[in-house]
């Protein structure tokens, strides 16, 4: 079917501005196929249903809008944790800033290197989950990423590495337009934690594909921010085998536009997928969490917990779907999305969806928007807590349900401290 003219023009303009990276035959074929998908679908436009609440223009336009680099006065997130650092500067792997990539129980390579090899296990995974994730809802920005991303990290986890891998992104050029594509394969029985933080670019398009084999476990803690002007479209595509677990948490602070899509497919019985997010936005801030979880096996559990604190005209969006296929009996699905609106200017737009074709399932969903609880606020103030501190305490309490989704107590505390400081800065 021919694309609408506007979409066709916008897509062609963007593609004309891009250069396809060189690579071995296998990846070139994958990239060409992805490019064909992009041309078929067209890039997102303002009239697309899936982009009803978040305007995609700046993510699609040929040139990345300029974004000032952010000078963080805070210590680097996770700096007190024992971790293996992998640093990308404006989307390019920096060996100089990174740790040695050897770690027992895990193989870590750079996508740019993998792409030149004639044979690599990644050929069965790179772009595969992204392709699967294109139905029933199209995600053209992810296909664009598969077609053009030149760098990223490729990880195979075979055991239980002694420390997490920390992807650290640095943004140094005001006009950097970055595509990163990471591929992670967690083998049977293996367990792995991935940390991500740092402003990546003026405009970031990132894809993370995670394939978790039977009984494998994957933990993911990501922090976006505190850069103000970035635009980012990120996709996580995860496929879960029997008795496996996928747990992902994202903290987002600031950012002109962030769209985080998470597409999870539970393909083996008794698997668990938890995805959570806590975001804080002040002023020129649009944050969109779009989640699509497909239950295609029995007795699986999925959980979505998203909390947003919005002020001074900030906008929060949540589109979350649970699809239970016929035969996915004993599914346990839970979804909650809530916003705390600290003033009358901010808004929260939520679209929770359930689509169920099995008859023996338990699925629940809820969505709320509210202000600070005045009764609780008075109670705290009557004990001597100044208005600002009392409000912050209640704000942290509101976010707690999402932050507590992080299993590791130390990482949970680390994230909490950052949110606390974000609130403190605004208290002046």
């Amino acid at each position: 079917m021919a694309l609408p003219q506007v979409k066709q023009t916008a897509t062609e303009a963007r593609l004309a501005a891009m250069t396809r990276p060189d690579g071995a035959k296998w990846i070139t074929e994958i990239r060409e196929a992805a490019l064909a998908r992009v041309s078929d679908m067209g890039l997102p436009g303002a009239r697309d249903e899936y982009w009803k609440y978040t305007r995609p223009e700046t993510l699609v336009q040929p040139e990345a809008p300029q974004a000032a680099t952010f000078d963080d006065d805070d210590e680097q997130l996770f700096h007190e944790f024992d971790r293996l650092k992998v640093v990308f500067v404006d989307g390019v792997f920096s060996a100089e800033d990174s740790d040695d990539l050897t770690l027992e129980g895990i193989e870590i390579s750079r996508l740019a290197d993998v792409a030149t090899q004639d044979i690599h296990w990644a050929k069965d995974l790179y772009g595969t989950l992204e392709t699967n994730g294109q139905t029933p809802v199209q995600r053209p920005l992810a296909a664009l990423n598969t077609a053009y991303a030149a760098d990223g990290i490729v990880i195979r986890v075979t055991g239980a590495p002694s420390k997490p891998v920390n992807l650290i992104y640095e943004h140094r050029a005001t006009g950097s337009d970055v595509l990163l594509h990471h591929v992670i394969k967690v083998e049977e029985g293996a367990e792995f934690t991935l940390l991500e933080n740092g402003p990546a670019a003026a405009r970031l398009n990132k894809v993370l594909e995670v394939d978790i084999a039977d009984t494998g476990k994957f933990h993911h803690i990501r922090a976006q921010g505190r850069d103000h002007e970035r635009r980012a479209a990120t996709h996580i595509f995860a496929r879960l085998g029997r008795e496996s677990a996928f747990k992902s948490f994202t903290m987002t602070a600031n950012g002109a536009l962030t769209r985080n899509e998470c597409v999870i497919e539970l393909t083996g019985d008794d698997a668990i997928a938890h995805v959570a997010g806590a975001c804080v936005g002040d002023g020129d801030f649009v944050h969109d969490d779009t989640v699509f979880i497909t239950h295609d096996a029995e007795n699986c559990e999925s959980r979505q917990v998203f909390k947003k604190v919005l002020r001074n005209g900030a906008v929060g969006v949540f589109q979350g779907k649970i699809l239970v296929k016929a035969g996915a009996q004993k599914t346990d699905g839970y979804q909650i999305s809530q916003s705390l609106l600290l003033d009358g200017d901010s808004q929260f737009l939520a679209k929770p969806e359930l689509e169920i074709y099995a008859d023996d399932v338990a699925c629940s969903h809820g969505s709320t928007s509210g202000a600070i609880d005045e009764t609780a606020l008075f109670y705290l103030r009557s004990r001597g807590l100044p208005h600002g501190i009392a409000t912050d305490l209640l704000t942290l309490a509101f976010l707690a349900e999402a932050v507590q989704e992080i299993e590791d107590q130390d990482l949970q505390a680390e994230i909490n401290t950052r949110i606390e400081r974000w609130l403190e800065r605004r208290r002046g």
Binding site: F378, S382, G384, A400
Partner: protein, 251 residues
């Protein structure tokens, strides 16, 4: 210490006068009780004194040690030494009881220009004072009042009072929802704080709390005014005859 003169209060949202000229002075070291039928304005008085929104003072004054408290924010009143034990303590999910107590103690210290209490000193103090109210470590760890029984909530109020060491304590129907044992614990906690010149204003429907917290002065409130003031015997009279006779007397 607490001096209320000719206090008139109406609801902000509607034209309804609740307090119609309350005069009351609580001296340092004294316990005053206010009794009265439902709707007489007792709780309104406690809310107005602690600074809750929704009320408008149309006439009169309230001072604590000579300072006008009606002009202050709720947190300033707390730092000045005023404490209200709530009739319905508020549940605050997500805020740990211990965090709340420490933040409150330090906020008040800061407001008074004092140093913050060290974490270890604070912990020692909380444990000691919690123990005397039979509040266990688990209750201290849980979110503020969440999942607490009625009695636990009231004991938690008294623990806050014990930690904050206010000058002037208002207890709003602290006996409601308490069984005898819990009431004794609460009364014990209050009595332990009675020394050192603290003032107490104890609001209650029933005489039974006053068996355990012996008042110096008893006031009867009705229709927004204090209609009768006397000694502890007044409470016994209410218990026996109800409020009807007194209301008839002033009518």
């Amino acid at each position: 210490m607490l001096e209320i003169k000719n206090l008139h209060v109406k609801l902000e949202e509607e034209d309804k006068q609740i307090l119609k000229g309350v005069d009351l002075t609580v001296e340092a070291g004294k316990v005053h009780a206010i009794m009265g039928p439902n709707g007489s304005g007792k709780s309104t008085l406690s809310y107005v004194l602690s600074g809750k929104d929704g009320y408008e003072v149309t006439e009169g004054t309230a001072t604590l040690d000579g300072e006008d408290i009606l002009e202050m924010e709720p947190e300033e009143r707390a730092a000045a030494g005023l404490f209200l034990a709530f009739q319905y303590p508020v549940e605050i999910p997500g805020v740990g009881n211990m965090t709340f107590l420490r933040t409150a103690v330090n906020a008040q210290r800061k407001a008074r220009g004092e140093d913050e209490i060290s974490a270890s000193d604070f912990l020692k103090l909380v444990r000691e004072r919690a123990a005397s109210l039979e509040i266990d470590a688990d209750m201290l760890k849980r979110p503020v009042n969440v999942g607490f029984s009625g009695g636990e909530k009231k004991r938690n109020e008294i623990l806050q009072m014990a930690m904050l060491e206010p000058k002037m304590c208002i207890l709003d129907e602290t006996d409601s929802g308490l069984d005898v044992d819990a009431m004794k614990l609460v009364a014990h906690g209050v009595n332990a704080l009675r020394d050192q010149g603290r003032g107490f204003l104890v609001i209650t429907h029933y005489q039974r709390l006053l068996d355990h917290i012996k008042p110096d002065v008893v006031h009867i409130m009705s229709n927004g005014r204090i209609i009768k003031t006397g000694g502890p015997e007044l409470a016994l009279e209410v218990e026996k005859n109800g409020y009807a006779d007194m209301k008839a007397e002033v009518a």
